[in-house]
């Protein structure tokens, strides 16, 4: 993988959190291509790759076979079933397969390592790409300032499936990330985790800044860190909520936003981050029985 890539950190920490054996299904993407070039494999646990858009459905099948063998007494041990997919394979082409797996109630954990574009094929936009980001299929040009649309809120879509556990996390806070994975493994049924993963190649920053950048996404509330356990929201709050520009200015993908004339765009991005943040806090307050202001 590229120097400074956050994806292997996510895979390692999620799997380290499991006390039981794990079986992994991986969608086509960076993690898949760089860990399994035949005849080599980096995986020491059972691993299956099927195609790009079907990690949810493929793992459904593996889990159904497991449940069948368990029912027949052919297998006794508990196994944690984990799928890894990038944002392209999860937000876009794999959304239907993921939604189906979640709705059907399979006992599995789906982890999106979210680097906010199709990085494996050269930084094409996805529905996880934030507004204003420069990508190769929605580039910053003379009349267009990168991605025009706001990004899809997949974590909330997953929460709307009313599954036992949904969480957003970052690669920079390992204690929070592993605690969430542990929590997911302890619950039976479908679980979903959306982990922000800075991508040096697609975001444009120094390899050593990966964790710092993820923390800045949290501190600016650009990427809220929270969980929804059986419908109850719990939000991690930054000590001091920093302005979004503190985060945007660290990355090449947002550089064009700081050119004269784009001030309004930066204001819009700050306003949208604030709106989504207060909406999230309201959901948390609602779960606690508090008043929604």
């Amino acid at each position: 993988m590229c120097p400074g890539c956050g994806a292997p950190i996510i895979a390692r920490q999620i799997l380290l959190a499991s006390k039981d054996p794990v079986v992994v299904v991986c969608a086509t993407g960076c993690l898949e291509v760089s860990t399994t070039i035949f005849p080599y494999t980096a995986w020491t646990v059972p691993y299956l790759h099927n195609a790009f858009e079907n990690a949810g459905a493929t793992l459904s099948g593996v889990e159904a076979a497991y449940q069948n063998f368990k029912k027949k007494g052919k297998i006794g041990q508990h196994i944690n079933f984990v799928a890894f997919g990038g944002d392209g394979g999860t937000y876009d082409i794999g959304l239907q397969s993921l939604s189906g797996a979640m709705e059907r109630g399979h006992d599995l954990l789906y982890v999106c390592y979210n680097n906010e574009a199709y990085m494996n094929t050269g930084v094409q936009r996805s529905s996880a790409t934030p507004k204003g980001a420069n990508t190769t299929t929605e580039p910053a040009g003379k009349i267009q300032q990168g991605k025009v649309e706001w990004r899809k809120d997949l974590t909330e879509i997953m929460a709307a499936h009313n599954i036992p556990y949904v969480a957003q996390a970052i690669v920079g806070n390992w204690a929070d990330l592993t605690r969430k994975a542990e929590k997911a493994y302890a619950l039976r049924g479908p679980k979903f985790m959306n982990v922000l993963q800075p991508c040096r190649l697609g975001w444009g920053y120094k390899p050593e800044d990966t964790l710092e950048l993820a923390r800045l996404a949290f501190d600016t509330c650009f990427w809220p860190v929270y969980e929804v356990e059986n419908g109850v929201y719990k939000v991690n709050k930054p000590k001091v909520k920093k302005p979004v520009v503190e985060y945007l200015k660290t990355q090449d993908r947002f550089r064009h936003l700081f050119k004269p004339g784009n001030e309004k765009l930066l204001e819009d991005i700050q306003a949208e981050v604030d709106r989504r943040w207060s909406q999230l806090l309201a959901k948390e307050a609602l779960a606690k029985g508090g008043e929604v202001k």
């Binding site: 790759h49 099948g61 397969s97």
Partner: protein, 390 residues
């Protein structure tokens, strides 16, 4: 003791599935295959099978889940048709390359567009190059028998390939027919109590990595064995058919010849049309015309040598294709047979009729016209559309 009952093609396939009692079924409803899934879902709900049934949200996910379950070591089945099969196309060659013995009930239906729900073979023919064994059925009995045999064929260590058994949409799938059903125990003994997978994704003590990225240095070496397995499967199909015939009395092969021994004018067809063609052959024989029929039961692997041997003595051959390849050279069955006949020094004249698209009825007068054309074969074009309005 077997018993004779009345069943539609879909009911017969669902009944075979109940007796096979697979570990996992992942399926999605689509006309005209829906009933198979519905009947099977009721078996699950009533506890008549031990299957974990995954009611997926699409055929793409059906085949994806089948792959996952099969890699986990399960005996896996599904059923679909037309657009559903087309939605699976991406995953079908993956199932073959991973050497997964998934067995599918495939009810032949015309591919859109325009959208249509009735029988032709365009869906199955478009899947001919994906490494799946393809067995066509003339009636419900054949569908039932072939589905049971398909489990044995697919799981044979010399094969390890997925297999689809097809019926003709509505013509077989929805028409009541008299069929002979085996005892549950006879089926179980024939197919074996469970699949014996060499490796399983659930074997946590022996972790395997499956579905790796295969580049210029290995991909080719992993594709050729699929071709070899397909070639080798011919022998296994015949062995399984022979054992089935010995035990249960119904004989099967790769092909079925009808009054072919001395036939001068031969039609070649697949599926339910063969039943209609046999009536015309009998009629013509009554009039002293040496007519015959060659039914292709197994299309993949393609029984080229057997077809050549069956046709070599004919004066004229008409291949009936229920789909078009758009090559301007005729349908898929016709072009493959013409290719197989190339090495013969003395070969029959061959023509091709594309018929019955989108469920257009194929009746006795149309088939009579095929044999009339064969008797004046020199005046015929290579490819004709049969039963289409001008």
């Amino acid at each position: 003791m077997s018993k004779i009952i009345a069943r539609t093609g879909n009911e017969a396939m669902a009944e075979a599935m109940r007796q096979i009692n697979p570990d996992v079924v992942a399926a999605y409803p689509i006309t005209p295959a829906t009933e198979i899934v519905m009947i099977f879902a009721k078996y699950v709900a009533d506890g008549l099978v031990d299957t974990n049934y995954i009611a997926v949200e699409s055929e793409h996910s059906a085949m994806s889940a089948c792959v996952g379950a099969s890699v986990a070591g399960a005996r896996v089945m599904t059923g679909t048709s037309s657009q559903g099969l087309a939605l699976m196309y991406e995953i079908l060659p993956i199932a073959a390359a991973l050497r997964l013995p998934i067995v599918m009930c495939d009810v032949n239906r015309a591919l859109s567009g325009p959208i249509n729900i009735h029988c032709d073979h365009s869906d199955t023919m478009a899947a001919r190059d994906f490494g799946w064994i393809q067995i066509f059925s003339e009636n419900s009995q054949e569908a039932y028998d072939s589905l049971i045999q398909a489990i044995r064929i697919a799981e044979d260590p010399r094969v390890h390939l997925p297999a689809m058994v097809t019926t003709d949409g509505f013509i077989i799938s929805h028409c009541m027919d008299k069929i002979e059903i085996l005892e549950d125990k006879e089926v179980k003994d024939f197919i074996g109590q469970e699949r014996k997978a060499k490796t399983s994704l659930l074997d946590i003590n022996n972790p395997v990595s499956v579905g790796l990225l295969d580049l210029q240095d290995y991909y080719f070496e992993h594709r050729v064995p699929v071709a070899q397995a397909m070639k080798d499967s011919k022998k296994v199909i015949l062995e399984v058919a022979e054992e089935f015939g010995r035990k249960f009395g119904r004989k099967y092969g790769l092909l079925e010849g009808y009054k072919l021994e001395d036939a001068e004018f031969v039609a070649v067809a697949l599926g339910s049309t063969c039943g209609t063609a046999k009536v015309v052959v009998d009629e013509l024989r009554g009039k002293g015309v040496k007519a015959g029929l060659l039914k292709i039961r197994v299309f993949r692997p393609f029984p080229a040598e057997e077809i050549v041997a069956a046709l070599t003595k004919a004066k004229a051959v008409a291949v009936l294709d229920r789909s078009d390849s758009w090559s301007s050279q005729g349908g898929q069955v016709s072009t493959e047979i013409r290719s197989a006949m190339y090495e013969l020094s003395s070969k029959p004249k061959m023509i091709n009729f594309i018929y019955g698209l989108g469920g257009r009825e194929i009746d006795l007068p149309q088939i009579r016209s095929v044999y009339s054309a064969l008797q004046a074969v020199d005046k015929q074009p290579l490819v004709q559309y049969l039963g289409v309005r001008e």
